[in-house]
Symmetry: C2
Subunit: 446 residues, 2 copies
């Protein structure tokens, strides 16, 4: 761990173990420098990070103090198996920072006017990356967005634009951000939940399509959130054929395609899109640069509507971050970073799956993930929303399946974030979870 990281951890530990209470003054910068034999910059950075994490508040005169909500957030971080993002410790940010600094030195003036569709250099790199993966994408077809969420938001907005009672068929379970957007904007969801034989409810979908009631199918094809398993080739073909037959759009969320445990990156469904009906929504937030919020969208034949909506919502995406990523990709320096991240995620997920397999009641279904950073537990004997509430009282954060799967099906499931998993630190949390699941009253009787 870096010096800066060990100071951060030391202070978090002190707060979590009650050595400091909310409002208590913390050591001054100069005291930190002496105590830990670090530079002033390192000390400042540690406090900066602690502030950002919500543990510490800076006061202009009094120095640093424990933040009011710190104890709560300390508890929440104690076992963040319910966290939504990849643990930041798994990223090596140095090559990107290095690329960023180099690019900023050369190109600062080039950053002074918004580029509406995105930085040409990054759009070209994105197209070249697709080419290297074995599929075709033109730089002109790429619109850079403020993160993957904006890509998804623009894509769904474009395909439902001007429809009185919009409806999207959604492959479930799904990314909570997608479900949240649809709920927020009054878009009805036609659920596409595969059965245990991986069969999709295609008859039901086709009836709705024939009635003209559905504008799009939203899916992930690779390492789907939250179970990390890819949509089978047969199901991909089925959905693409239906979309073509009934002339509707497919919104493909590409957030995890680079996060497979296999070295070979699978092609997106977009690679088979012959008539521009697939809107591919991608992001660098998971693969390379979580805080940079650089996503992109290949909107196919919806390009005009998407551009208009982009103008109305955020006008253009920030240039410096795009420049940094373009620079990193141009040098191929992202490849070792991706390889390292994939390996780490594969190890973390395998370790969590193994730890769970040793502990959980046998009726719980855990299908091994093929990519991503989540483990999805299904067929729980109890209600996951209640379970998460009980866990929270123990200082354990769990994400109930309802985040990704509305209704009763979601109440039988649980999403665990493996990127935070540490067999020693989280042994107690897993033991508690196993106990709670074994002691749960049978659902039928509950």
């Amino acid at each position: 761990m870096s010096k800066y990281g060990s100071i951060v951890q030391h202070i978090i530990d002190s707060i979590e173990h009650g050595s400091y209470q909310a409002g208590d003054a913390l050591p001054s910068l100069r005291q930190l420098v002496q105590q830990h034999a670090v530079s002033l910059n390192t000390a400042r950075r540690a406090y900066y990070e602690l502030e950002r994490l919500g543990y510490v508040e800076a006061h202009s005169r009094r120095g640093y103090a424990v933040a009011a909500g710190a104890v709560h957030s300390a508890d929440r971080l104690a076992a963040p198996l319910g966290a939504p993002f990849i643990h930041t410790a798994l990223y090596d940010t140095r090559p990107l920072t290095h690329a960023f600094i180099g690019a900023m030195r050369r190109y600062d003036e080039a950053l002074s006017e918004p580029a509406l569709a995105g930085l040409p250099a990054l759009r070209r790199q994105i197209a070249q990356q697709a080419h290297a993966e074995g599929w075709r994408l033109q730089a002109d077809d790429v619109l850079v967005t403020c993160g993957g969420m904006e890509a998804l938001s623009l894509a769904i907005a474009a395909v439902t634009h001007g429809i009185a009672e919009p409806c999207v068929a959604v492959l479930l379970p799904a990314f909570p951000g997608l479900l949240g957007w649809l709920a927020e904007h009054g878009v009805r969801v036609l659920p596409l939940l595969p059965d245990e034989h991986d069969q999709l409810p295609c008859t039901q979908l086709e009836q709705a399509l024939a009635a003209g009631a559905v504008q799009a199918i939203a899916l992930m094809s690779a390492y789907c959130h939250p179970h990390g398993r890819s949509l089978s080739a047969a199901n991909q073909q089925r959905l693409l054929a239906l979309a073509q037959r009934y002339d509707i759009a497919i919104v493909e969320d590409d957030a995890y395609r680079q996060l497979g445990f296999d070295e070979q990156v699978p092609l997106p469904l977009k690679a088979q899109d012959s008539d521009g009906r697939v809107l591919l929504c991608a992001t660098f937030s998971k693969s390379l640069a979580p805080g940079y919020r650089v996503g992109w969208l290949a909107p196919g034949r919806y390009a005009d509507t998407v551009r208009r909506l982009k103008l109305a919502h955020t006008l253009a995406s920030p240039l410096p971050n795009q420049l940094a990523l373009a620079e990193l990709l141009a040098g191929g320096r992202h490849l070792p970073l991706l390889a390292r991240l994939r390996t780490q995620l594969a190890e973390k997920v395998a370790a969590l799956e193994q730890a769970l397999a040793l502990r959980l009641p046998p009726e719980i279904v855990l299908r091994p993930a093929q990519g991503g950073y989540f483990v999805w537990l299904d067929n729980l004997p109890c209600d996951s929303v209640q379970l998460a509430a009980e866990a929270e009282r123990e200082g354990i954060v769990l994400a109930p399946g309802t985040l990704c799967l509305p209704g009763d099906a979601g109440r039988r499931a649980l999403r665990l974030n493996a990127s935070y998993f540490d067999p020693l630190q989280q042994q107690a949390a897993l033991d508690w979870l196993a106990r709670a699941l074994r002691q749960a009253p049978p659902r039928d009787a509950g």
Copy 2:
């Protein structure tokens, strides 16, 4: 002009004067280095900028060539009096780049997880800046957005959220981005157009308010787009009192408050907001960093809805840009930059106003701007939409008033971007404009 800038200008001139046609090969980087006695980096940067401007295309093997659309975009740039943004030449980007590089060196690891409401360090700086201006804002009340457009978009979305037939009273003329958003989302506009005595149609507004038909008033209080004149204190009071009496929101677009020709920065209407009904939408895009797309929103009592919408739309704003701005503001290094920009804008606007006064028919109304970078011409003898179409055939880009003011009133007005104004280079364009306006058939007869 920098070496890099003069190469860019030289090549643009060559394309505009027909020395190069679309598809023609351009000098290689090494040839540029020799021709202009510059470094390879400078040559590369020039091509990079030309690419970004749409003049040049890079081909992996064949080097650089004139882009397909270059002639068209050359024409458009010949006299960009209709341009929407401030000319990038008016920004000195070096201090920001310097701050950026310094901050990235120290804090790169801190950028690896999205901060949902924005970077605490920037939110604190924003609050401190308000304090320095003489009004109160808490860092916790600030949500950082992807540019001012997202701030505005979230604010209007929040105040009209869940309303079946939303309607917003809009102070006219207004920012085209606002009008575009409202049209795109089916929000009805109740026009608030002051008469020649600066009286607002308050009776009409009050009737609509009494009927419960209006959810918000959208306005700029300082140096309003497009005329650069502030809303009078009396009108500000009137609108605030009406909003309070009928319990509706005020969406205040703060984009130009730092761009006044007077040194004293006026207070926003938000400074008088006692009950959180004003949603202040601000941005650094005009004042300091156009390409960074860092805006912010102080959403008052709409904070919960705004946060939910922000999550659904872009999740969080990019951190590196926020870090750079926080660093610049913390050192007070933005103040000389702002002072310099204000002076330059005041000079440009005065020069354009003077050049126009010498040329235009006397019936055209030109009220001197107090800030910003536009000059707004009213009471034109002809239709500004037709005029802009004729101008385009001459290679002159004009923005018809309808962009900011729908309907007939807008057809009598024209928005000119003074930041691009150069008395020598644009003499011909202004002469053409003056001639066209003098020769125009009287509107009543047309």
